[in-house]
């Protein structure tokens, strides 16, 4: 059973980690773009 649990933990954890990383990237880029016009025109 431990082999099966390890496989499920790695697969589900891997997908969740990638989804979280994408969400972080999106937030950071949105923040950067919100401040971009100020930097360009400021």
């Amino acid at each position: 059973m431990s082999y099966a649990l390890a496989a499920y933990a790695i697969a589900v954890g891997g997908i969740a980690a990638y989804a979280a990383w994408l969400a972080g990237q999106r937030r950071a880029l949105e923040r950067e773009l919100r401040s971009e016009p100020l930097r360009n025109h400021g």
């Binding site: 496989a7 697969a11 891997g14 997908i15 999106r26």
Partner: protein, 228 residues
């Protein structure tokens, strides 16, 4: 705007529902008489293969469109699909050896199916590296697109590897009609559905990130032009 914000919600909802059903059916699935509980890895290993194949087919398709129309969006779509495909292929290469260790007694063997899967993985990892090292160059985008189209030819070879090897492989044959025992069809089908839903959700999210990166690059280029 409504469409761009509602699509991730839709894919997230589809993923949530199918994942819950899948988890329930995997939990209730019968224990295989030969392999024991480790056989349940089937319900996650094969769906991950579907995610990888889907990613690489879409990368090749979008690359073909890019070569034909030279559209920036097709190029961005190809990169996004490749990244999600590589994630699923990584999971295939992690869950497979765990299953192998528990049933064959070793993590890895240079079996034709395993070797071709590793090769497919390396091809698309190289594709992503190539893109990251040569970001923004149209020539590099063209070369990457050709590379992605050629790389996908490995998928049919990988799929029929067992037949090509004349059955002289350690890896089990592809599943066919009636291969699964009673009660194993539902968790398997739901696993496939969940993998497709997860793939769609991650691809939509990755496309959003790609679009934001493109917007940042456009603004940076604009700022540079103004400064010049």
């Amino acid at each position: 705007m409504t469409q761009s914000t509602s699509l991730p919600r839709l894919t997230a909802a589809a993923l949530g529902v199918s994942a819950l059903l899948w988890a329930f059916f995997v939990w209730r699935a019968p224990i295989d008489a030969m392999q024991g509980p480790i056989q349940k890895i089937l319900y996650i290993h094969v769906p991950c293969v579907v995610g990888a194949y889907l990613g690489f087919f879409l990368t090749a398709g979008a690359s073909g469109v890019y070569l034909w129309r030279r559209g920036e969006r097709a190029d961005r779509f190809a990169a996004a699909a490749a990244e999600v495909g590589v994630l699923f292929c990584t999971l295939v290469l992690l869950t497979g050896p765990i299953w192998a260790k528990g049933t064959w007694g070793r993590w890895w063997t240079w079996d034709l199916r395993l070797t071709l899967t590793l090769l497919l993985y390396l091809i698309y990892v190289s594709y992503l590296l190539l893109r990251s090292f040569t970001e923004g160059s149209e020539r590099a985008a063209r070369f990457s697109a050709v590379y992605a189209v050629v790389g996908v030819l490995l998928i049919p070879l990988n799929y029929w590897a067992i037949d090509l090897a004349g059955g002289r492989t350690v890896h089990p044959e592809n599943l066919g009609r009636g291969s699964l025992g009673a009660g194993m069809g539902a968790p398997f089908a739901l696993g496939m559905l969940t993998a497709v839903a997860a793939f769609a959700h991650l691809l939509v999210r990755r496309l959003e990130v790609g679009a934001l990166r493109a917007e940042r690059e456009r603004l940076d280029a604009e700022a540079l032009r103004r400064e010049a």
